[in-house]
Symmetry: C2
Subunit: 222 residues, 2 copies
DNA sequence: ATGTGTTTAAAACATAAGTTTGAAAAGGCA
DNA sequence: TGCCTTTTCAAACTTATGTTTTAAACACAT
């Protein structure tokens, strides 16, 4: 049932964060019970509240530690692409790569690929819990603005509405597809392999880069 | 807090299904409590178990009643497109329209556009609850096969892996984007309007049709 | 060694939620 | 009307879960 056991000797706070990560990824916020987390972490139930104050605070801290480095890497890659483009418009594909590829790096732990981490990121977006919305605003609103700035420069012919809609589609395709990547294996009867992270991410980037080139046609009746 | 009140006179079973619909859409499966549902339906708490046997059965029945007509409409549109193409390969855009447009019709109730219905559909995909996975397999596995059959005929040059991955991206973009369509309004500071259902769906179809044309490039290192 | 602040432990508490129960009310039919 | 079935209702039951409490164990400086 559980994933790789958390090594003994690790201090309690760290063990809690690690256990929360796996359980949140697999079962979502509501399904993350402190009893399950403390059991997997092999620590006492009360220690969760002792160290973090509340379940919300524990999950928030876990997300912060996991998401912050990814966003830093995203901005770093975006900056790198900017310099590569000599501060002119960045090719859209490079922008999307900067957004997407850091997720691959983060999912590749020391003990192989951890797909439940991708679920975790996806859930942080789709969770209905009210406080998760705040979480997301905290971590992603500013990032979206920065990326939108570059996208705008790269697609001068598109309207603002076009760009925001396309970014919306891209973000949701990214989070949904990665979060649910196990499903494509089942659907395709094993032809697609989610464990091939690079393959998956490259396909995703190509798909979204193409999608972005859609100049939205005028509304038509269906 | 609640949406439009459910008209009195409606029989209990119907009231429960309608209330469950709105609450499930807004708060997900775990957040759908029988107490909240029966309160919104203005019926007694015990009636949920009396009429449906369990919370799972109530939600399942609600989903069945909502999803089944959509899938029928999807197959009808696909068939229509097939005949329009004189039983040759169907244009990819038409296939995607058959998949997506019925969601718009379903979200347009008698009292205006009901965006929470789109959330409902999206959640039925992303919910971590184990039984929701079964729900989904029940309703969508066969549908995916049928659509894949047509997609395959329309893209003879692509590999099976290409097609399944692209379909995966498209489905997740569709469900995620529609489910979270409120967010694009916030992100764009009101430039994008989710209430304009036709506009949103047309943009989505265009985006995905373009994305599908991505011939996945060979894996490259990043 | 002793005292002090920190961490862990077991148990209890309070609340929320799915379900069950038994009686009352409503509906239908001879 | 009288009888039977179906439905509604209020209340209780059971379990799950976040949180708190109190004491013991521990770490470490004096």
């Amino acid at each position: 049932m559980s994933t790789v056991a958390i090594p003994r000797g690790t201090d309690t706070k760290e063990r809690l964060l690690r256990a929360a990560e796996g359980i949140f990824g697999r079962h979502g916020y509501a399904g993350t019970t402190l009893r399950a987390v403390t059991a997997e972490a092999e620590v006492n139930l009360a220690s969760a509240n002792y160290h973090f104050g509340s379940k919300e605070a524990l999950v928030m801290e876990m997300l912060r530690q996991r998401v912050a480095p990814i966003n830093e890497e995203r901005l770093r890659l975006l900056d790198e692409a900017k310099r590569k483009a000599e501060f002119g418009p960045i090719p859209l594909e490079d922008i999307l790569e900067a957004l997407i590829m850091p997720l691959g790096g983060a999912a590749r732990g020391q003990d192989g690929t951890d797909l439940s981490f991708l679920q975790l990121v996806g859930r942080s977006f789709s969770e209905p819990a009210e406080f998760m919305r705040r979480v997301h605003d905290t971590f992603f609103r500013e990032l979206a603005e920065v990326f939108m700035g570059e996208i705008r420069r790269s697609c001068p012919q598109a309207t603002e509405a076009d760009l925001w809609w396309n970014l919306h589609f891209a973000i949701n395709a990214m989070l949904g597809s990665l979060s649910q990547c196990r499903r494509v294996e089942a659907m395709s009867n094993g032809i697609c392999e989610a464990a091939d992270l690079d393959g998956m991410l490259n396909r995703l980037v190509a798909f979204l880069a193409n999608g972005f080139q859609a100049n939205t046609p005028p509304s038509r009746t269906v």
